[in-house]
């Protein structure tokens, strides 16, 4: 049976994910997203993966969530904050699809012996560092290039030309 801590963090994670999508104001939605990301980080802690958990908090909550909040608040417009209406049919179809996928995945999980697997074998930081800096070093370098390219691309996209401004 799952720990109380796990159940609490599961409720926080799934609940704030729903808040992120359903909150009336998009700012509250962004805060809900940050809560959900934090919940996933605590689940990483429960999985004995503290390094990934701290990385998740630093990058997701420290960078992505703050980036979204700043974008929403700096470009403060009525239409951003307002929830766009969805018609009842597409909402029903969306809920049905989401539920169907969740239930199908849940049945697939219940069908296997995953509930009997409780023993963990946590990895140490040294092993992660070794993997990143030896075998997967090319991946790391490509990732660095992608990050640099995406930041430059984002800056170029969102630059306002002087002629455009007036």
């Amino acid at each position: 049976m799952a720990d109380p801590t796990f159940i609490a963090m599961m409720v926080v994670t799934v609940g704030s994910a729903i808040v992120a999508l359903e909150a009336k104001e998009i700012v509250y939605g962004a805060i809900g997203l940050a809560g959900s990301l934090f919940g996933v980080a605590t689940l990483f802690f429960l999985l004995d993966a503290p390094y990934v958990a701290v990385f998740q908090i630093a990058v997701y909550i420290g960078a992505v969530a703050v980036l979204i909040l700043f974008t929403v608040m700096l470009v403060r417009q009525e239409r951003w904050a307002k929830e766009l209406p969805t018609n009842a049919l597409s909402k029903f179809a969306g809920i049905a699809t989401g539920l169907a996928v969740t239930i199908a995945l849940a049945f697939a999980v219940l069908d296997t012996g995953l509930f009997s697997i409780t023993q963990t074998n946590p990895a140490d930081f040294v092993k992660i560092g070794e993997l990143i800096s030896t075998g997967y070093a090319p991946v790391l370098e490509v990732l660095a290039l992608i990050l640099a390219a995406s930041v430059v691309g984002a800056l170029t996209l969102s630059r306002v030309d002087k002629e455009e401004k007036k």
Partner: protein
């Protein structure tokens, strides 16, 4: 004691919520939220399967799962930055964040 299935079930729930958001929302920022939630569901699965024993024996794949999640988080950050820039540009061009109104590239 938590079992592997608990984490996989949470991941399935997050994935379902993400699919619901992608299917119904029209605000571009909500779509970004939905994508981020789905990426987190995938990351959670990666770490969970990497940490539990029968999967974690040969050559310490536990570290391998965590390594891939580190890469995935960095990629998701880059993706979020680009999406936000595109949303800002689309808003400047169309005065709207409703994705069903952005039809200028529709064939």
């Amino acid at each position: 004691m938590n079992s592997l299935a608990d984490f996989v079930l949470v991941s399935a729930m997050l994935f379902g919520i993400g699919i619901y958001g992608l299917a119904t929302k029209r605000n571009a920022l909500r779509l970004l939220f939905a994508v981020e939630i789905m990426i987190n569901a995938a990351n959670l699965n990666f770490v969970a399967f990497g940490q539990f024993l029968p999967f974690a024996q040969a050559a310490q794949p536990s570290a391998l799962g965590q390594t891939f999640v580190l890469f995935s988080i960095a990629l998701a950050a880059a993706e979020a930055a680009v999406i936000l820039a595109i949303v800002v540009v689309a808003y400047r061009l169309h005065q709207d964040v409703d994705v069903s109104e952005l039809k200028s590239m529709q064939g």
